[in-house]
């Protein structure tokens, strides 16, 4: 047996420019980031202080969606694209709490994220987790790799949580590429499969301003989209109630304090392929 050592040029950890997964880890109160990431995260927060609450709100949304999919919708296979660094309530933990036999395949292209995922995002005995080193900008290759790990003849849920913003050019109002990528993924879904997405809308000038500075920091650019563009990801699918909404309003957990106020500009939803 031959063991290929992975240190390809892409396997280098870049500590000189901020990296989205590490900045998110900082915003979420984690311990896995470099000084350059904290700097970028703080700079962002100076313009848009809501980001800390917003980051948490997006994690809660993911947890509610995965709980719904593994529970009510009966999904046992998940393709989580844009894994991020391990945090509380990672996708497989939420899914396997509801359905111990759920299988989660994580996809990322950041070497640090992949190393952490392989070592720490490991499932229980009944279910399992797996990992794919792939880039969302090449969905065909991503799906080829996923097809070796998941059975696409049975229902699969594809998660695109906060990753679509890395697609496309932030200077252009053109989401043709983004819609085409989502289209390719939707086409791969079998009947009864699900697509779950949240993405950032351009509705808040403060967020847009914070992103302008962020995109100059050397980090991979992050772009916001119009609400109608986000809604179009679900074209051709049956939207699960309540549709594409601010993520805090998507099936919120019961709270004695009433419905949560809007903490972020993220819009999200879940669609089912008929």
């Amino acid at each position: 047996m031959d063991f290929d050592v992975p240190p390809s040029p892409s396997a280098k950890i870049d500590t000189t420019v901020p990296v989205s997964a590490r900045i998110w880890n900082y915003w979420l109160g984690g311990k896995d980031y470099y000084p350059v990431d904290k700097e970028a995260g703080d700079q962002f927060a100076r313009i848009y202080p809501g980001i800390f609450d917003g980051a948490r709100a997006s994690r809660y949304f993911i947890a509610r969606v995965v709980r719904y999919l593994a529970g009510e919708a009966g999904i046992r296979q998940f393709l989580d694209i844009g894994t991020g660094l391990p945090t509380q309530d990672n996708t497989h933990e939420v899914a396997q709490r509801v359905a111990p036999d759920a299988k989660v395949v994580y996809v990322d292209n950041d070497p640090l994220v992949l190393a952490h995922a392989r070592a720490l995002l490991t499932g229980n005995a009944a279910g399992s987790t797996d990992y794919i080193d792939a880039d969302l900008s090449d969905p065909e290759a991503l799906l080829r790799a996923a097809g070796k790990k998941l059975d696409f003849s049975r229902p699969v849920a594809i998660l695109l949580m906060g990753v679509m913003a890395h697609i496309g050019n932030p200077d252009e109002d053109d989401d043709r590429v983004a819609q085409s990528i989502v289209g390719t993924l939707k086409a791969a879904l079998p009947s009864g499969g699900y697509l779950a997405v949240y993405d950032s809308s351009d509705a808040d000038p403060a967020l847009n301003e914070a992103l302008r500075a962020y995109n100059e920091s050397g980090a991979a650019p992050y772009r916001v989209r119009r609400p109608d563009q986000i809604a179009r990801y679900f074209d051709g699918l049956e939207l699960v109630e309540p549709g594409v909404v601010p993520i805090q309003q998507w099936r919120p957990d019961h709270s004695p304090f009433g419905p949560p106020r809007n903490l972020s500009n993220n819009l999200g939803g879940v669609g089912r392929k008929a």
Binding site: F3, V5, I13, L120
Partner: protein, 311 residues
């Protein structure tokens, strides 16, 4: 362990002098029990002090101690006297609930650790590691010479510890083996420790204790890596990984958000406990480089089987 360590117990077991910067502690302070509780209590006290706008110097005066003692208390490095905690809570004008909680924590923090029953088999500079290991949620380690202590068989551990004992007849190797095996309970408790180890291929090819012992050890390693909370990556001989670390490194992560990671570096007769931000960052980066350059965990079993065949 040094976790692997052949080293602990190799010679003089006196603790290093306290430099006051967290690199080393007086042995006496480490006799206190559950380390995590102490660290949490220290962190809570520091937050309360800062919120109350009290300087470390003034706080130290209130408990008749030095600023350095105060600093070590807040890092959870030395044991708490209930009277000191009570005086500090008064100074910080802590509420009744807070006072009750923190005094309970202080009592629990003073409970003896399991290792105290093992006497000299646990040198003073190593005892704190045992408390930290028990408190940790994730341990990342890099091993150059040996299989990590938490994954050793009794036979392999004995061979390793005999190397470490050298000519010192005073050392009770059997007792040290018992300590090492007792430590491994952290991997079998209900909410087990997550171990993420990078082991140099050379360490796995060295027939410590002879072929039979080494073989049994490799087979045990294969068994252990089947646990979802044990992840081993092998740094192949031809990878350049070793350039980034010239010796074993252990990095501990604790469940509480306010507790920073701790780096543990073992030497022959002492150990360093590093927790300053720059030190943590340096070693975190080292561990990240090692993990990204080593074989992925999915290749570990096949590689171990190959080494077994070639042993």
């Amino acid at each position: 362990m040094p976790p692997q360590g052949c080293r602990h117990g190799a010679g003089d077991i006196a603790g290093p002098p306290d430099t006051g910067d967290g690199r080393a502690e007086p042995a006496a302070g480490y006799e206190a029990g559950p380390t995590a509780m102490r660290m949490l209590l220290g962190a809570r006290l520091r937050k309360l002090r800062e919120a109350a706008g009290v300087s470390r110097e003034d706080a130290a005066r209130a408990i008749r101690g030095s600023e350095s003692k105060m600093s070590r208390l807040e890092l959870g490095r030395i044991s708490f006297k209930l009277r000191d905690v009570s005086d500090l809570l008064g100074l910080y004008r802590a509420g009744e609930d807070e006072r009750g909680t923190l005094l309970t924590m202080a009592r629990e923090a003073n409970a003896p650790g399991w290792w105290q029953a093992y006497g000299d088999a646990v040198p003073a500079w190593f005892a704190p590691y045992l408390g930290l290991e028990q408190a940790a949620e994730i341990i990342r380690s890099y091993e150059v010479q040996f299989v990590p202590g938490l994954l050793q068989t009794p036979g392999y551990a004995r061979a390793v510890l005999e190397i470490g004992a050298g000519d010192n007849p005073a050392l009770d190797v059997a007792q040290q083996v018992s300590v090492r095996i007792r430590r491994q309970r952290v991997l079998h408790r209900p909410n087990p420790l997550r171990l993420w180890a990078v082991i140099d291929e050379a360490a796995l090819r060295r027939p410590i204790g002879g072929a039979a012992v080494a073989r049994a050890q490799l087979e045990h390693l294969i068994e252990m890596t089947r646990l979802s909370h044990v992840n081993v990556q092998i740094a192949p001989l031809r990878a350049g990984s070793r350039a980034v670390a010239d010796g074993p490194v252990t990095m501990l992560r604790f469940p509480a958000a306010e507790l920073p990671d701790m780096v543990y570096l073992e030497q022959h007769t002492t150990a360093a406990y590093l927790s300053k931000p720059a030190e943590r960052l340096y070693y975190w980066n080292v561990m990240n480089r090692l993990a990204t350059e080593a074989l992925p965990p999915a290749d570990t079993e096949a590689m171990l089987r190959q080494i077994l065949r070639e042993l």
